[in-house]
Symmetry: C2
């Protein structure tokens, strides 16, 4: 133990909608030594995720909001530097709820997955092998049940989840079409992420018509990270017995007051849709096997992943705000001093 200062990025005001820079403040706190049963983790890489908006807000979500004046809730990869927990040793690498901070003193229930050495760099545990790749893999296969020859539509197709869904769809023998917010990202998704065709929805006046053009046979699977007008159009492209996977609602700036949209009941009924919500943290038990398979696919060259690695904890709030503006290219990851 040479470090005694824990550099933290705390949530200091409750965001309304997308968290902004002013909602966070850097704080230097003392490192707390682990008590009985605890571990001290030195973080190497921190994750920046769209889901953090929901964790920071208090609109009622699937988890309690982050308390004010504590480090922002975040996933991270770190190294155990002190352990008073049986079965966890110094030098072990872990993926878990270690927060936006340089050090985390915690109990083992914060661990999502032990990081096994592989030929992939450590940061990949926050992208391909983190909740982005795991969500794409477990939601697309588990709820999408893709069959060869099926048609797949994906919103935020060039994003940190969508970039994997396109590739997994192609590997499953499906034809994938993606939606994204710029011509540049559309080209990237076509060239790199397995998409047969892309729709730059910001350049389309008539989104339903654009979907009909790009998906003339309709869609068997809609993998949705946005909700909103994109979902309204997508549901009307679904084929009979289609599966809709709700993985996020990024296009909805605020749920208070409740926004309205086209009623989906008739589409659900007449098209016999199966529409299901997916929260990755329900599936922690499946992480090790999924991570092994994703590692195998990446090492064989069948799956690529892109990261946008930023140096230093102070970059985290802007990286989060930038996610909602579509500014990032690849999964945003904060690299800390320990990783250098």
């Amino acid at each position: 133990m040479t470090r005694t200062v824990n550099l933290q990025m705390r949530l200091v005001t409750r965001p309304r909608g997308v968290p902004q820079l002013a909602d966070f403040a850097p704080v230097r706190a003392p490192v707390r030594r682990p008590g009985d049963g605890e571990i001290l983790v030195c973080n190497h890489y921190l994750s920046v995720d769209p889901a953090q908006r929901g964790w920071a807000n208090d609109e009622g979500n699937y988890s309690a909001p982050v308390p004010l004046d504590t480090p922002m809730r975040a996933l991270a990869v770190g190294e155990v530097v002190e352990s008073r927990s049986p079965g966890i040793g110094e030098g072990d690498f872990l993926y878990g709820w270690f927060g936006w901070q340089s050090h985390c003193t915690t109990t083992p229930d914060a661990i999502l997955r032990r990081v096994t050495p592989s030929a992939l760099p450590l940061s990949a545990n926050l992208s391909l092998l983190g909740i982005n790749g795991l969500t794409a893999y477990l939601a697309f296969n588990g709820l999408g049940k893709p069959q060869p020859g099926e048609h797949v539509l994906v919103s935020t197709a060039a994003g940190s989840v969508g970039s994997f869904v396109g590739q997994l769809a192609r590997l499953a023998g499906c034809r994938a079409v993606g939606l994204t917010s710029s011509a540049e990202k559309a080209a990237l998704a076509r060239e790199r992420y397995g998409y047969a065709d892309m729709i730059d929805y910001r350049s389309e006046n008539d989104l339903p018509a654009a979907i009909r053009r790009a998906c003339p046979d309709g869609n068997d699977i809609f993998f949705d990270n946005t909700g909103g007008a994109i979902a309204d159009a997508a549901i009307r492209s679904m084929r009979r017995s289609g599966r809709m996977i709700q993985c996020g609602t990024a296009s909805i700036a605020s749920w208070s007051p409740p926004p309205t949209g086209l009623r989906p009941e008739r589409e659900v009924l007449t098209r016999r849709l199966h529409w299901a919500g997916f929260i990755i943290f329900d599936h922690v038990a499946a992480f090790p096997e999924a991570a092994d398979e994703l590692t195998r696919l990446a090492l064989s060259g069948a799956l690529v992943y892109d990261e946008d690695v930023l140096l230093g904890l102070e970059q985290a709030p802007a990286a989060l705000a930038g996610l909602y503006e579509g500014r990032n290219r690849g999964k945003p990851i904060i690299r800390l001093e320990a990783a250098t």
Copy 2:
């Protein structure tokens, strides 16, 4: 063959929304003798179903609209009076697409199920053993996957499907709460259809609050025949991993122009809902086994069914329009001369 006149109730104008009396006209047509491979069925009982609105409209549905100046598409129970189809004999009773008419000359693909003699009256093949009972049984069990102790909410709970769902929920060890449109029907559903509690939604100013009062623990299954404001409120009562079964959209007067409502994406996501559409005609292969089980339950006294039997084909249009006004008590069935 003593009969030569086929009394038909034809669809003569395309309804806008709910079919009205003026959309139909009685016509006396000749009975057509069956050709090779065909059968001639003499109808005893005709079905009146909410789904007929969708079949009569041309808004785009799961089936092509009924052609004008032909007998209204309808399910019926009839007796084979002449057969030129192998395996079907005179005197056989059948349940199938025989239309609002006294006689039907058709091919065997119009048959949904052979009616096996049982201790139940013939009309039960259009209620308990028809699409109402079969929908309740197959949708509730197949998509609802009820577990003992779970909580179930049902719209149109006193209706021809909901009256069975409440009973099946209670048989499965669930607590069922229903929605209906009058105090009288609420009392009937409580006393006769297995509902632990009922909400008369027409007497409630604040439907979400009424659901919270009647379902203080939330709901694991929502069996929805209405859509609309009831569905908006119900989805917000769902517990984690709840199942929503879309069996109908009776509360929506017209889908053109497309109506709007509260966006469901966030509820689907954060509550990990499974929302699926159910069309009974996808499940014809399961009819015989389901009908056997429903017969067994009815004969044992575990399941009751109510019919609103009207005498004469000329009653059919008013019975259909009355369905949407909640006027019927029990499943409306038209009894024809052959059944007397």
